[in-house]
């Protein structure tokens, strides 16, 4: 079973602080994204259950994030090969542009029976890229899988739907996103870390994928992704408890919080 796993280089959230409503990324190490590790683990289990095939980690460059180090980590965890799309034009790109680059790389490095993703990235967490890639590649997509089984031609997935669990089957090839409870990602052993340096890493530029800077240019700008700040009224009521309660009720009614 040949599986592509899309991987993003993400900050280690445990070491990140928030100051003035913005993340402090100074000196924070970047690693394989948390949910991407679940996708990678799922891929390795499926590959090993099938008894043959390869797992290819795919990523795109993003500013000065050290994607080659991330790919080494993915190879140490157990991927057989790594594919990198590296182009300065991708630095400013958005989910649509990143999906084009990933789909191009997967198409060129493939064919694959399965394309796996974490349900979202550790930092942006828009969850858009998997569906965009699936659409570009013309694949059926199953989102939020909490378990995966393959019989070769058919893939069975359980999806977390909040209140219920949905079981779906799809013919391969397909695209699947996984949630964190699907597995416990393995920690690479020293031997596997040492072997990772010798595994193949393929690098593409956008031109190799019949793309250019214009194709991946962002089509929209994020002005803010912060939750709206709610101002509090800080009203204090004085007096006897009964009078305070009366005043509070009146205030809540006046605000429309309590009805008549």
């Amino acid at each position: 079973m040949d599986i592509a796993v899309c991987v993003k280089t993400n900050p280690d959230l445990q070491l990140m602080r928030v100051k003035d409503r913005a993340p402090v990324l100074e000196a924070v190490p970047f690693k394989v994204g948390d949910l991407d590790k679940n996708a990678l683990e799922a891929a390795l289990l499926l590959r090993d259950a099938a008894g043959d095939g390869r797992v290819v980690a795919v990523t795109v460059s993003e500013g000065d994030r050290k994607i080659r180090e991330t790919m080494k980590e993915a190879l140490a965890i157990g991927a057989d090969e790594a594919v990198i799309v590296s182009d300065p034009a991708l630095d400013q790109s958005d989910q649509a542009g990143v999906a084009l680059a990933l789909a191009g790389a997967i198409g060129k490095a493939g064919p694959f029976d399965l394309v796996l993703f974490g349900e979202g990235s550790t930092d942006g967490y828009s969850g858009q890229v998997p569906s965009r890639v699936a659409e570009l590649l013309g694949l059926p997509e199953i989102g939020y899988a909490r378990s995966l089984q393959s019989t070769g031609a058919v893939l069975r997935a359980e999806r977390s739907m909040g209140e219920s669990i949905e079981t779906l089957e799809t013919a391969l090839p397909a695209a699947v996103t996984v949630v964190s409870e699907i597995n416990e990602p393995r920690i690479p052993s020293l031997m596997n870390i040492m072997k990772a340096g010798k595994k193949p890493v393929v690098e593409y530029a956008l031109g190799d994928l019949a793309l250019d800077a214009a194709a991946v240019a962002p089509r929209r700008a994020v002005r803010s992704n912060l939750a709206e700040e709610q101002s509090r009224k800080h009203v204090l009521f004085d007096g006897e408890p009964a009078a305070q309660a009366e005043a509070l009720i009146n205030a809540l009614v006046a605000e429309g919080v309590l009805g008549r």
Partner: protein, 429 residues
Amino acid sequence: MEKVECIVVGGGLAGLVAAYGLAREGVEVMVLERGNYAGAKNVTGGRLYMRPLRRIYPELWDDMPFERPVARELITMLGDGAATTVELASERLSGPSPQSYTIQRAKLDQWLADKATAAGAMVVTDMKADELLRDGERVIGVRAGGDEVGAEVTIIAEGVLGLLSGGAGLREQPRAADHAVGFKEIIELPPGVIEDRWRLNEGEGAAQLFMGDVTRGMTGGGFLYTNRASIALGVVVSMEQMRTRSDELESWELLDAFKEAAQIKPLVRGGELAEYSAHAVFEGGIDKLPRSYGAGYLLAGEAAGFALNALVTVRGMDLAIASGWAAARAALAARAAGDSSAAALAVYERFLRETFVMRAMEAGRGVPRAIENRRLFSEYPGAVARLLEGFFAVDDESSATLVRTSLRGARREFLKIDTLKDLWSLRKV
């Protein structure tokens, strides 16, 4: 068993510089770091002395991620409810080639790890070396995370406690008497506030050391270094004196009290606590150094005892870097000779002597005994303040001239046999 040419245990300054020095010569070298990034487990007061280091791999330092070059040095004596500060601002401290920089290890160590990686070293994080593999006397590699990896030379740069080398009997187990313990807070302040508070030009930094009440008379002191947008405030105190106190004082309480002291409070006002850390520091001095080499291994950095207590400051990072450099050279010499026996690696000691490491350790020989003298930390800071108070005093009773008052004060405070003895004991510090 999988093999590499060299294993470096510890991704701190000594280990990373050694790895860089080996990798740039084409040696297959692997660094094992137990933290989840290089620098994760390391604590510094905050200042790196750069001048002696510029000769070591000169190409390396151009883009070092420093916080501020230190342009102002202050020493503050706290005692008897008073603070006396000696202050030096000099063009020769900063200028085109500053003597020292304030730094933060999380940034510096990751930057150095990147340099080593770019040179071809393999830096493995989240990987604790559990044990040294031996063949008789010889160190032949390490066991880490269940795997065994062999190496021609293992450079042990595991830091102050030396658990691996101590466990293998390559050095003695650490004793409290040879160590101090340091506590530090990083307190965020806007760069402009830092520059105003310490009267600095834009981008320049200050180093302020404190002795006296900070440690309640115990050996040690306080420190304050200005980073770009934060200050590092901490206390270092003798582990043994702390351990043998009869009261209930906990060492971290010293830092809390220090921060609340009337003379310190205005310096940290408005700051936001961002980080807290603590670490042991070796201060046994040159007489307590372990043998730094043997068949198949070298000790570098604080694992080799290269740290220096100079009364109120502790110096170690420049020694770590220089010893890492010397370790790389020794391993390269062994490789060229095809011999990594103890006799071949003894060349390490010569390289250490060629650097400032052994000169600095030698110069600090008298310090451990001198600083056991508690008068330095309990009596003198207050005495200095009283003398100056006499100088500045204006009241009904002062009829004598300033000079006479001062001389009388100086005689009263300092012309004692103990003081003269102390001065004599400090002549070499």
